[in-house]
Each structure stands twice: as C-alpha cells, then as structure tokens.
Symmetry: D2
Subunit: 144 residues, 4 copies
C-alpha cells in the first residue's frame, strides 16, 4: 500500500476546487448517489486541476504520458443526493521519483461528504513506467 497522504477536512487546505452536480443516473435504489460514482468525480476534479494549471490532460496524453491509477481510497462520511452540487477540493502531494498522490475533500455547502486519495504513476501509451515529468513538481502543494 503506497497510500500515505491524509486528506484534510478543511477546505482552506486546498488551493483548487471543482464543482460537480450529481446526476440522476448516478443514484441507486437506496436513494443516494452510488459509491462507485465518486471515483469518476475524483478523476474529473483531477483533470480540472491539471487543465486549470495549464496542463490539459489530453495534451499530457498527446505528449505520451498517462497518469495510471495505482490506488484509490474513498471514505464516505455522509451520502450525496441527486441534484446536489459537490465541491471537490483537490491537492497534489507526496511526489516521489515514480509516483504522486492526490487528496480530495468533497463538500456540499461546507459539509464534508467524503474524503479520498488516489496514487498515480507516469506511464507511456503501452503502460510502461516513465520518468515523472518535471512540470509536475510545480503543481505540488508545499504544505500537502
């Protein structure tokens, strides 16, 4: 288990936030957003952060790099419901020569709904490990 980053419950510890409105297709028979739907939310917010910082994910991929997902950990605090707007706070941290981690805090109107961490490696189009691109270092929060 490479997972080492501990996501903060304080939105102020995150420098980027990406709002996502939940979809009815993502609800389940318990009347809440199904727990598997959170994983694409994380990816969506991660891609938004890269786009915002000047590295749109399709350009990163066009340059021959994919960020493979090595681990995902989600902790569900309170359910999300249909038509809620979730603020997904994102921060990059725990950069090593081969991996980096992303921490997430999901809130609705400042109430914590979930936290999450994903661990990533840089790979080429065939899935082989690559050196982490230099520009990534600049995206990592000093405090994270």
């Amino acid at each position: 288990m490479r997972l080492s980053l501990t996501p903060s419950n304080d939105p102020d510890d995150y420098s980027f936030v990406h709002p996502i409105r939940t979809r009815f297709a993502e609800t389940d028979a318990m009347g809440i957003i199904h727990h598997s739907a959170y994983v694409p939310y994380l990816e969506d917010a991660r891609a938004a952060l890269f786009r915002h910082r000047g590295y749109p994910y399709d350009e990163v991929r066009a340059a021959g790099i994919d960020f493979a997902v090595l681990e995902v950990h989600v902790r569900y605090c309170r359910p999300l419901r249909f038509d809620e707007v979730v603020d997904v706070h994102v921060t990059l941290g725990d950069l090593t020569r081969t991996t980096f981690q992303v921490g997430y805090l999901l809130t609705v109107a400042d109430e914590t709904r979930a936290t999450a961490v994903t661990v990533h490696a840089a790979v080429d189009a065939r899935g082989r490990g690559q050196r982490m691109p230099r520009w990534l270092g600049a995206l990592v929060e000093p405090s994270a």
Copy 2:
C-alpha cells in the same frame, strides 16, 4: 434514421440468448434499473453472440475492424429490478453494403421487459468507413 429492423416479442424468433444478472450499481432512486444501463447490456449480448459464432470482438478489433454504433433505439416495457437475470435475445439482420442492424428482446422468466435495435457500420481504428467483412453475412438470420 437508418433504423428499419423491428424486434420480435417472441423469443423463438431469436437464435441466440445471453443471460445477464442486473447489478445494484445499475439501480436508480426509483428503485429500478436505470434506463441507461440497458445500452451496455445490448453491447454485452452482441459481443457474446459474436464470440459464440467464432468471432470474438477483440480478435475482430485486432484484425482492424470496429463496429461503430450509428443508432440505438430502446423501448422499455416493464422495469428491470436488482438481482434479476435478464435473458437478452439477439438477432442480426438488415445487412447492407455498409451497415447491419441488431435486434434485441429482453425477457425475465419469459416476460418482455424491453426491446431494442442497434445500427452499426464497419470502421477502421481511425473511425473511417470500411467494407463490411464477408463473414458477417453468415451470421445474419435469413428470417430476420
């Protein structure tokens, strides 16, 4: 609209059937299987038919052909529920030089739940139109 095939409500009109158990992740807040979940069921049953007839879809793709989806039409008759085993009856028909159509009947214990039609074209890996492979003709039902 290329859609021309009319799917029969009689399972006997189909020579192939693929059973699929519904997943909890596919339910929605109405307590039923969400209508978008049916589209992967169709694809799954279509792939099973190709595999059964000796043309696994990954081999078809490795040979340079993808069957792009041009149209999808689903008619929902009665809802599907969690943990039901759906018999997806499949038949190929309406083959032209550039397209073919697939008809579907979804039943649970012989009760019709939905019918569907998909229209397909052969394309290469870059999405450009290809001649329909000859072997496909042998898979088309004479009566369909």
Copy 3:
C-alpha cells in the same frame, strides 16, 4: 413505437442549451466517448431544462411524480472525445394526455455530433401511470 418527434439539426430551433464536459471515465478503447454515456447526458440536460423553468426534478419527485422513460433513440453522427464541451440543446414536444417527448441536438462548436429523442410518461412512486401535470403544457415548444 411511440417515437414521433424529429429532432432538428438547427440549434436555433431549441430554446434551451445545457453544456456538459465529457469525462475520461466515459471514453472507451476506441478512444472516443462510449455510446452509452450519451444517455445520462440527455437526462442531465432534461433535468437542467426542468430546473431552469422552475420545476427542479427533485421537487417534481417529492410531489409524487416521476417521468418514466418509455423510449430512447440516439443517432450518432460524429464521435465525441474526452474533454470536449458538448452543447446539449433540448426541446419538449408531442405532448399527449399520457406522454411527452424530448428532442435533443448535441453540438461541439456548432458541429452536430448526435441527435436524440426520449419518450416519457408520468408515473407515481410505484410506477403506476399518472395524469400528466398541467404545468408541463407550458414547457412544450409551440413549434416543436
């Protein structure tokens, strides 16, 4: 087949548009957005139209009405790709005493990518047919 509405290819024929950014989770091994992902896009745009007109779908549901999906028809013109912003143009039409239809035009930078139609009935929480609520009439385009 109740499907009767023909969706226009002209954005000007639609009074409402809802932008959706495609997600990487929605891509498939052909490198494009998987055809099943369009169905939640339609639902998302439909819910946005109801919200915009003053009838948020969760309030409609809380009032005891669900709009069951009877039919879905999607016509795929050109593929959608990851990170594109799709303008989903929506219009309501073909209202009868028991059903209404919704037409969709999906464009990216004014290029048509897909059109679609969904057919709906009003049902209660147990799935039984309900009278169509009166307010729906006001949402139907005269020209649609």
Copy 4:
C-alpha cells in the same frame, strides 16, 4: 480510517470466488478497463457471496437492512482488458459490533490484477445505524 483488513494475494485464502467478464463499455481510451469499473465488480462479487450463503441482498434489504459502504480501497496491480474473465475472490472479516470488512483478490488465470477492501455498516432504509444482524457472524472467515 477504519480500513484494517489486508487482502491476501493467495486465492487459497478465499472461500468464495465470483467470475465476471469485463465489458467493452468499461474500457477507456488507454485501452484498458477503467479503474472506476472495479468498484461495481466488488459489489457484484459481494452480493454473489451473500446470495451463495443464503442471504440474497434483495431479501436482506426487504428485511430492512442495507449495508452502507463506509470505505473503499483498491490497489491496481496489472490492468484488466476487454473480454477477460476476472475471478473475484471474496472473504468477510474484521467484524465489529457496528462494521465488517470485505477483502477481495482479482485474478485472471491466476495472475493478480488487483486487491481491494471495503468497509460496511448496517443501516436502515433511512440510513440510520442498525445493529449488525447475527447471521453475519457465521459468514466471517475465522482466519480472515
């Protein structure tokens, strides 16, 4: 973080296995099964174990109990590809008065592809904590 169970890499440590064939709809533009698709696989295998042991999940729910998901952790070892049959090995463990954990090993032809753990609580239909049903104790592996 309640996560405490460490999933074994040895299939012999699991008393139940549920095979799942991957779907094309679950692939992504990297040509592999998207990492979010694993979460429904886990749920599917979990439901199969409960069904196999005489507690079908729809009966459990009808009796007023839902097993809410508190945490999910997935570790991706080697990618899954389209049309592979994944053996999802499952074991229940770490039962407390309010939670239990489920460990998973995903293999294809005995090669490890992923491991995972989920943490669950018993809740009623409104999401309030419930006492863990007694029968669950009998499903927990002594060694797990």
